[in-house]
Amino acid sequence: MKVDKPLISKLENLAKLALSDEEKTQLLTDMNDILSMVEKLDHLDTEAVAPLIHMSDQPQVLRKDEIKHELSKEEALKNATAKVDPFFTVPKVIDLD
């Protein structure tokens, strides 16, 4: 597998990043180096192997659905840079014109 510039642009879009040309060039080299290291896994026969997805072999224990650790409106908003109490704000998404 060889990573090229169009793939970098596609991934950048999926990851919601906007990289500079310089960063993309560096990334091209780094990603190809890392992927050739990772492709060592191809030597491993995993035909009949089930993927390991969950690290816990214990049943999930659910707690009662009660409200705990509730944040006040002020607490919840305090880390937002842009807000109009009681809302978080984002750039306009609906264009009424």
């Binding site: 597998m1 990573v3 793939l7 970098i8 596609k10 991934l11 950048e12 999926l14 990851a15 919601k16 990043l17 906007a18 990289l19 960063e23 560096q26 990334l27 780094d30 990603m31 180096d33 890392i34 992927l35 290291m37 990772v38 492709e39 060592k40 896994l41 191809d42 491993l44 995993t46 192997v49 089930a50 993927p51 390991l52 997805i53 969950h54 690290m55 816990s56 214990q58 999930q60 224990v61 659910l62 707690r63 705990k68 650790h69 944040l71 607490e75 919840a76 305090k78 880390n79 937002a80 840079t81 842009a82 978080f88 984002v90 750039p91 998404v93």
Partner: protein, 477 residues
């Protein structure tokens, strides 16, 4: 040498009246002041620590038996653990103005046991790194040789103990981030089993790997901290309900142990000859003490780092998607559309190494590559885990070096990321398998740089792991 080497020494001094919590805090704050050039702390909680120390001294004077088991323990916390109403940044520009709205369960528990938190320590950005060089706040330096790295990602945690600015440190270990810096700094570092300590309030990096870990001068202090933090928590569905033994009361290993080592790991071409020699010498010393140590085949050594990086980068790209600049985190000043807002906020907020992992994680999870990379790595993880469980069915412990080299020079390994990734070869195994592992000091190379050795054991057998590590560190060196 630290002024106080463990909690027992401190508690005896507190009982004898030769020190007080306030004096301890003043001592450590003065040490922090003196060691500023090492860039250990992102922030200290000086006044608050003093106030708390005075309150604890008062509590002790009024009723000596009322104080908790961590009375007298001054700890630092890695900047990835939430502490209510305190800043928390993951050493990233992304969170440089963030204030935690609640405390991690681990933090709540050490506070309830009367520990004192002295500050939050520097680390690699979002705990991704092996050298503490990717922090937004600049690198932390190794106190033994300040031109060298302390290891990472819990580098600030390790140096906070190494430079005697606190008694113990809480870090996080996703692929060795507690054990590797402990080894580079000449300390004890432990990663408990997956699910042993609640991760509520720990910033997520790779959720099927992350564990809160401990760095200390002694196995005994590691044991008491684990005992206090471990166990069920209704705010973390991945934490185990497995009973928590009184680790601190079981520090003497009964009888003789059966220990395995992997010939492939010990003969690895990248392993520093001095570390190799001393590791083999240590194995001989274990045999001399009556333990049974045998070489066992492990055919998956070359696949550890590849599967680890595929899986952690995938999980990181998913976990870090939450940083969108809306509810918290860096927000760009120049966006005119929502799309532009997301892209610019994330691009400006994350550092280069974090962006690289997000991009690679996005790649291995994307349509067309998912099976070939992500699923393939999950299958490799199954093979690795099955093999290790098989070994641990026959042996009590697996012994291995912690790192292939001692701490390198700051800036020395800035080029190829693969070179740094491969240096994680011995530590990622415990995280890939969810098993507990403890690193402790083994020796020093000819330049005086320390290195450690580590033991792994079966899931939730921390009691054996700690008691054995304590017994052999007391008796064999």
């Amino acid at each position: 040498m630290p002024k106080y080497s463990n909690l027992q020494v401190i508690q005896s001094a507190l009982k004898a009246g030769s020190t007080s919590c306030e004096k301890l805090v003043d001592y450590y704050l003065a040490r922090i002041e003196k060691q500023q050039a090492l860039n250990i702390y992102i922030e200290t909680f000086a006044e608050e620590a003093r106030t708390r120390a005075r309150a604890l001294d008062q509590k002790y004077r009024e009723a000596p038996s009322s104080v908790g088991p961590l009375f007298g323990m001054v700890v630092s916390i890695k900047d990835v653990l939430c502490y209510k109403d305190h800043k928390l940044s993951a050493a990233s520009k992304m969170l440089h103005n963030f204030t935690a709205s609640f405390s991690a369960t681990a933090i709540e528990r050490i506070l309830a046991a009367d520990a004192i938190i002295i500050g939050r320590t520097n680390c690699d950005e979002f705990a991704m790194g092996s050298a503490n060089e990717s922090s937004y706040y600049g690198p932390t330096r190794n106190a033994i040789d300040p031109t060298r790295v302390p290891g990472g990602s819990s580098g600030g945690s390790a140096v906070s103990v190494q430079a005697d600015t606190c008694l113990a440190a809480l870090g996080s270990d996703t692929g060795g981030s507690v054990r590797q810096p402990a080894s580079f700094c000449g300390l004890v570092g432990m990663k408990p089993s997956y699910g042993r300590i609640s991760r509520y309030g720990l910033l997520a990096y790779a959720s099927s790997f992350d564990q809160i870990g401990i760095i200390a001068n002694s196995v005994a202090d590691t044991a008491i901290l684990l005992e206090i933090m471990a166990g069920a928590d209704e705010f973390d569905s991945t934490v185990s309900a497995e009973a928590v033994p009184a680790y601190s009361q079981h520090l003497s290993f009964p009888g003789k142990a059966k220990i395995a080592y992997f010939g492939e790991a010990m003969q690895h071409e990248g392993l520093d000859p001095e570390i190799k020699k001393q590791s083999f010498d240590f194995i001989e010393a274990l045999r001399g003490a009556g333990h049974q140590v045998a070489a066992v085949d492990f055919e998956y050594l070359a696949y550890l780092v590849p599967s680890y990086y595929v899986l952690t980068m995938a999980e990181a790209s998913s976990n870090l998607s939450r940083y969108d600049g809306v509810r918290y985190g860096h927000r760009t000043a120049t966006a005119t559309s929502l799309e532009e807002h997301y892209r610019k906020s994330r691009t400006e907020g994350f550092g280069e190494k974090v962006k690289r992992r997000i991009m690679l994680g996005t790649f291995v999870l994307s349509v067309g590559y998912y099976d070939a990379y992500f699923k393939k790595a999950q299958k490799a993880r199954r093979l690795i885990q099955d093999r290790i469980l098989q070994v641990l069915a026959d042996y009590d412990f697996i012994i291995m070096p912690v790192t292939p080299s001692v701490a390198w020079k700051i800036g020395e390994k800035q080029g190829n990321p693969v070179e740094i990734y491969l240096s994680d070869i011995y530590t990622v195994l415990a995280n890939l398998t969810g098993l507990p592992a403890i690193a402790f000091p083994l020796g020093k190379n000819k330049n005086g740089m320390p290195f450690g050795i580590q033991l792994m054991s079966a899931k939730f057998t921390e009691k054996n792991l700690l008691s054995f590590a304590n017994t052999i560190t007391q008796n064999l060196r």
